[in-house]
Symmetry: C2
Subunit: 201 residues, 2 copies
């Protein structure tokens, strides 16, 4: 039996639960922390405990927030006519990082997936419909992922949005900026062709 | 300015200090924890805090331990004639995992590196010499890394060990098991040639 220190093994096991961390990198992290980065241990422990305690979902849009309403929902400086629907808070963070959108968000916390038992009721759609009725939006941008489930979810939500008398739009799919046609998959390339736009003269 | 939640940003910054974790994977970890792995947050926070509080260096061999003496130094079932000198506690863990060594260890917590101001006094050599005098060992295996600094450290320690009347040995360098000659670097290949062993008839 190899020699082990239980408290170090417990740390390795806990680190392994981080996404993308396998047994070897968990062990490397544990030893690096214990041998050379002691101050990081307390820092990370309290950052985890503090975030776990403080971060909840915004009562209006479901985004992650440290208050009942997230900073975006609280802001009066956003475009009140635009609502963007995404699957996860990480998607909000990604779109905010572009600086290309200044409206409000609604976070589904998932996508429709009948095979996994995830139907409309799991996506907080009661709250979504209330937002559509009360929000004063004109356009709802459906920015779910370009996967089978994300597309199905976008179709389902487009119907819902239109029944509330609002305009539904879908984010564009196509060749990634900086990508090369040769290396783009067929589905993306055929989306890029069918979604072609006129070049203004 | 992109929208951020300070407590989430603090968590991302703390995760970035883990070895091998860049800004993108730190963000991915933070969102995965907050969105889907809430129980892991408390678990990891307490594993970190507990290990930080409990883990110290063994008073005899410098290995990481949850007691004044580590489990190996406390054990009476190890071979009392063999001492293996390594650079770090992670090296002890790696050697223990092989099951190929059953003696005791001494952990230098580094290697000689005059350019970085790391001389013999930083490597706990007073304690090492006391161990050589009192330990009753016959052979000291120098298992520092096969780097310039590790080799220099092994040479320095070999002198010390021999002055104490003990036998000093160095771990073998050569072609890694399962490796292919074609892809082995020149230094390793020349070590493998000069360290060749007779095949018993």
């Amino acid at each position: 039996m190899a020699y082990t220190v239980p408290v170090i093994e417990a740390l390795v096991q806990a680190l392994r639960q981080l996404p993308g961390v396998g047994p070897r990198s968990a062990r490397r992290m544990a030893y690096a922390l214990l041998e050379r980065k002691r101050p990081v241990m307390g820092e990370l422990a309290s950052a985890l405990a503090h975030a776990d305690q403080v971060v909840r979902h915004c009562e209006r849009c479901n985004n992650l927030s440290d208050a009942p309403l997230c900073g975006i929902c609280q802001s009066a400086r956003r475009n009140p006519k635009l609502l963007c629907v995404v699957e996860t808070p990480a998607d909000v963070s990604a779109i905010e990082a572009t600086g290309a959108f200044d409206g409000y968000y609604f976070v589904l916390m998932g996508h429709l997936s009948p095979l996994d038992g995830i139907g409309p009721e799991a996506l907080h759609l009661d709250r979504f419909e209330r937002l559509l009725d009360e929000g004063g939006f004109e356009e709802v941008i459906l920015a779910t992922n370009p996967t089978v489930e994300g597309e199905a979810t976008a179709h389902f939500l487009a119907d819902l949005v239109q029944r509330h008398g609002l305009r539904a739009t879908r984010i564009a799919h196509g060749v990634p900026v900086g990508g090369e046609l040769e290396f783009v998959d067929r589905g993306t390339l055929s989306s890029a062709l069918s979604g072609r736009r006129a070049i203004e003269p």
